[in-house]
């Protein structure tokens, strides 16, 4: 019966405990809607025909509803609507309240991929492995804009907000592979932000965890990530980091905020720096590039003029990559802070 209804309504297969609850209410609501609209529609069509106009200037009787009729008009929908609300809200509370023994998985959405990390465990990109018949709580966050984590077969959905965690949970009922979709518009490749949940049976799950711990499947999941989707500047920043390491920048410049021989890279971009001459200069792309090519031109107050020039050692794209890297090193300081997200510490377990 349920399968038939599912087919009529084009519902995807049900694979979580919440899906069963949602679908039951769905059938109830659709059923009542159909019966009620059929009743209203039939009555209307009957009236259209029965009371069709017989002569052009026909007059009609003055009919007004009695209090009883009006009461019926109000109470009938109200009773149904409140019943639906009661069932729906009970399920909604069920859905927003993860059980205490749930397994935690951290989910981070970013343009345009999903990253999953297990506490003390492996990471994954775009593929989430979970055991069947065990509640799994997802703590969702985002690195850039709002995303929304949606698994149609589980009937669950929750927005991932930048800079904070939302939670959702599910208990998958049968092993299999289920699609993850992003349902909050998040930019150019919104529709490519797909992933999948792999639900494993108990023993498969144990094996998978073991394999992950032993590192037998190195980067299996990372390989799935479509690098072409990573923003251009982010890829450049990664190149820049490698370059900076090769070129020995880190001998004099730290990235943790502590001044060394040279000023730290952390939070440098966009800051107003004071020069030895007392002049104040905004650190922008041009300033960083010039400091690499002609370090002696501007010396920051408090630092010696010891930096060699990189004129000729770095190509244009290379210096641009290093600039991108420095730009990516914003301090978590509230002044210039980039979104690094909160740190969530679970108390239980």
């Amino acid at each position: 019966m349920n399968e038939l209804l599912n087919d009529i309504l084009f519902l995807p297969e049900r694979a979580s405990t919440f899906a069963d609850r949602v679908d039951t209410l769905h059938y109830f609501v659709v059923g009542v809607t159909m019966v009620a609209s059929l009743a209203v529609g039939t009555a209307a069509l009957f009236f259209f025909f029965r009371y069709r106009r017989r002569k052009p200037a026909q007059t009609t009787e003055y009919v007004v509803p009695s209090v009883k009729t009006e009461f019926l008009f109000v109470s009938l929908p109200l009773i149904f609507f409140l019943t639906w609300f009661a069932i729906g809200y009970r399920d909604f509370v069920f859905y927003t309240t993860p059980p205490k023994d749930a397994m935690d998985v951290y989910v981070m959405g970013k343009q345009w991929m999903w990253k999953f990390s297990y506490p003390e465990g492996p990471n994954g990109v775009n593929v989430l492995h979970v055991p069947a018949n065990r509640p799994v709580r997802l703590l969702l966050t985002s690195r850039d804009v709002i995303h929304s984590f949606f698994v149609p077969s589980f009937r669950i959905k929750m927005d991932a907000l930048p800079g904070r965690y939302t939670q959702t949970w599910f208990e998958a009922t049968k092993p299999g592979t289920y699609q993850i979709l992003c349902t909050e518009y998040c930019g150019l490749s919104h529709s490519k932000m797909l992933g999948e949940v792999v639900v494993l049976s108990a023993e498969d799950w144990d094996n998978w965890v073991k394999e992950q711990r032993q590192g037998k499947l190195p980067n299996r999941q990372d390989a799935l990530a479509d690098l072409s989707l990573v923003p251009h500047s982010a890829r450049m920043a990664e190149q820049g980091q490698a370059l900076a390491a090769n070129q020995g920048c880190f001998k004099c410049h730290t990235v943790n905020g502590e001044p060394h021989i040279g000023p730290t890279f952390l939070g440098m971009y966009g800051r107003l720096e004071t020069m030895q001459t007392g002049q104040k200069i905004l650190v922008d792309e041009a300033f960083i590039t010039q400091s690499m090519m002609d370090p002696g031109a501007y010396i920051l107050a408090g630092f010696p003029n010891v930096m060699p020039t990189y004129q000729g050692k770095l190509t244009g794209p290379q210096s641009a990559a290093i600039v991108e890297y420095i730009k990516s090193l914003r301090t978590p300081d509230i002044r210039t802070g980039a979104s690094r997200g909160p740190v969530y510490e679970p108390l239980s377990q």
Partner: protein, 558 residues
């Protein structure tokens, strides 16, 4: 003396006798023929017609965007445009249709034209403000369209932060245009409320006002109370986009969910700005074409106010999965149910109006049938959304798209078309071709269903909205939807053709071709410049009163 309204009312359906003074009071259409006399006219009827022209133009623009979107979705991969163009197209479809068509359509055209006529007033309370509101709308539209031509915006019409503050597309001019359009909406709202309060002719007490006036009154209350909040939010997003105020910036502690609260505080009631006038139009149409007094007049009038009030406090049902608290979700869910109850009361009373009536199945009544259907299904799916748990899988999928196109667009378009046909003789003094009217109505209603029923099913399958590409399992239904959209477009083309034809070659209409008892039919068609001649008329009877005097003594309670 022109025929006094009460003398016509005494004799149902009577055509006013030709009058010797006619030539001294030319119809508003020919009273001044220069371009300036139209563009700077303070006459509410001419302003209404200018609104009609612009609103139809914007409908065409939004419709073209819609067809582009639908064509793109014909295949799972790229079809005719690239992803960026697609994202801009659906955003512009939403922005144009909502801010430039749906919100000004019925209030701007039919509210402007009919409200003073229905109240027995010579004009709205502030005619200059009325004209200004049209030009404010056009100013906003020009700024927004300038933004569209210079890049367009890709945020979706909801402008959710932080995406809207980070995107590099031209957000600022389009949002600023929408901000200016808000002033137009506010001005119209203020004008209508004051007109209803102060300009009613002697005899028209609050409970003798036509139901369209009640609906416009409720709509205007929403416009006045909600639009300023949207104005502020739009300014903040523009500021955020241009100057980085950081008010919604999550990296500085800002809360994007707070943005959503403020946004939906306007945008949810905005749905009622679109649909309440439709309810008002349909109350008039169903009464006129079944020649029956409204069943439960007060119930419909009060439920309009009830929707306007409760509609403000249901906004959180757009945010069930946004990280909003469970407690708040429950509060909003209950209040959403009340909106459903008010709408149900209206539906029952419309059907009750037909009971023991005398139905004349003309084009406006055909649209009423479509309207009833869209309201019932759109409304019931809306209530289903309000149950919180069902919203979780449906949120931001095609089910939402189909739902709001049913209730907000379907109901409003039906009412717009019904109003256009019902009041066409009054506005232009010409009759359209009834047969073609019924054909196009059938096509539009069928096309609408063919477009959006597949989208309900797509939503059930889990296809998210705003997807440029989609997994292949969704294709069949998308093709069906696109096919439906072309049928819908065809229906509109037919309507455009025969209405334009009627405008020029149409048969001359009498003052009251439908033999309606609505107050607006008491004057000539088209009405003279100041609506009626002589001193302010008095009104003794209710509108929608089709009873033989001797039978009126004993109300028949059902």
């Amino acid at each position: 003396m022109s025929p006094s309204p009460s003398s016509i009312a005494a004799e149902p359906g009577a055509v006013p006798a030709p009058d010797s003074h006619h030539e001294h009071h030319p119809s508003y259409l020919i009273d001044g023929t220069t371009v300036k006399s139209w563009l700077l006219s303070l006459d509410h009827k001419r302003i209404g017609l200018m609104y009609l022209f612009w609103v139809l133009l914007f409908f065409l623009v939004g419709g073209i965007y819609a067809l582009v979107v639908r064509l793109e979705l014909l295949t799972p991969g790229p079809t005719i445009i690239d992803a960026m163009t697609y994202n801009r197209a659906f955003t512009m479809h939403g922005v144009v249709m909502i801010f430039l068509f749906m919100i000004p359509a019925i209030p701007g055209v039919f509210g402007n034209f009919m409200l003073p006529l229905m109240l027995g007033a010579k004009d709205v309370a502030f005619p200059r403000l009325n004209l200004a509101s049209l030009y404010i709308l056009l100013t906003g539209a020009i700024i927004a369209i300038w933004g569209m031509i210079n890049g367009g915006m890709d945020t979706g019409w909801t402008f959710y932060t932080p995406y809207s503050t980070q995107t590099t597309t031209t957000v600022a001019p389009i949002l600023f245009g929408a901000f200016i359009i808000g002033f137009s909406s506010i001005a119209t709202g203020i004008n209508f409320i004051v007109t209803t309060h102060t300009m009613r002719a002697p005899g028209i007490t609050w409970f003798k006002m036509p139901l369209f006036v009640w609906a416009m009154y409720a709509t205007s209350c929403i416009q006045v109370l909600a639009t300023p909040v949207l104005g502020l939010v739009l300014l903040l997003v523009v500021g955020e986009n241009l100057f980085n105020f950081g008010i919604f910036d999550p990296s500085r502690g800002g809360d994007p969910v707070l943005f959503q609260h403020l946004f939906w505080f306007y945008s949810h009631p905005a749905v009622y700005i679109m649909v309440l006038p439709a309810f008002g139009v349909m109350s008039e149409v169903v009464s006129a074409f079944s020649r029956k007094n409204i069943f439960g007049y007060r119930a419909i009038a009060f439920s309009s106010l009830g929707i306007a009030f409760v509609g403000f406090f249901a906004w959180g049902h757009h945010m069930f999965v946004s990280g909003q608290s469970t407690f708040d979700a429950g509060v909003f869910a209950v209040l959403t149910m009340l909106v459903g109850v008010f709408t149900a009361i209206k539906v029952f009373n419309w059907v009750g109006t037909v009971y023991k009536g005398a139905v004349d199945f003309k084009t406006p009544f055909a649209y009423f049938c479509g309207f009833l259907y869209f309201t019932v299904f759109g409304g019931m799916t809306g209530v289903a959304f309000g149950t919180a748990s069902l919203d979780v899988p449906w949120h931001d999928t095609y089910f939402v798209v189909a739902h709001f196109h049913f209730i907000m667009v379907g109901a409003t378009i039906m009412a717009f078309m019904a109003a256009l046909h019902y009041w066409f003789p009054k506005m232009f003094g010409k009759m359209y071709h009834e047969g073609w009217g019924l054909v196009s109505a059938a096509l539009i209603i069928l096309g609408f269903n063919a477009t959006f029923i597949p989208q309900f099913l797509l939503g059930n399958m889990g296809m998210p909205r705003r997807y440029y590409e989609y997994p292949e399992r969704f294709q069949n239904l998308n093709v069906a939807s696109t096919a439906g959209a072309s049928l819908l477009a065809f229906g509109f083309v037919i309507a455009a053709v025969y209405l334009t034809y009627a405008l020029i070659y149409g048969r001359r209409a009498s003052a009251n071709p439908w033999r309606s008892r609505g107050y607006e039919w008491l004057t000539e068609s088209p009405p003279p410049t100041h609506n009626f001649v002589g001193p302010q008329p008095t009104y003794d009877e209710e509108p929608h009163f089709y009873v033989e005097p001797k039978k009126a003594e004993v109300p028949d309670a059902v």
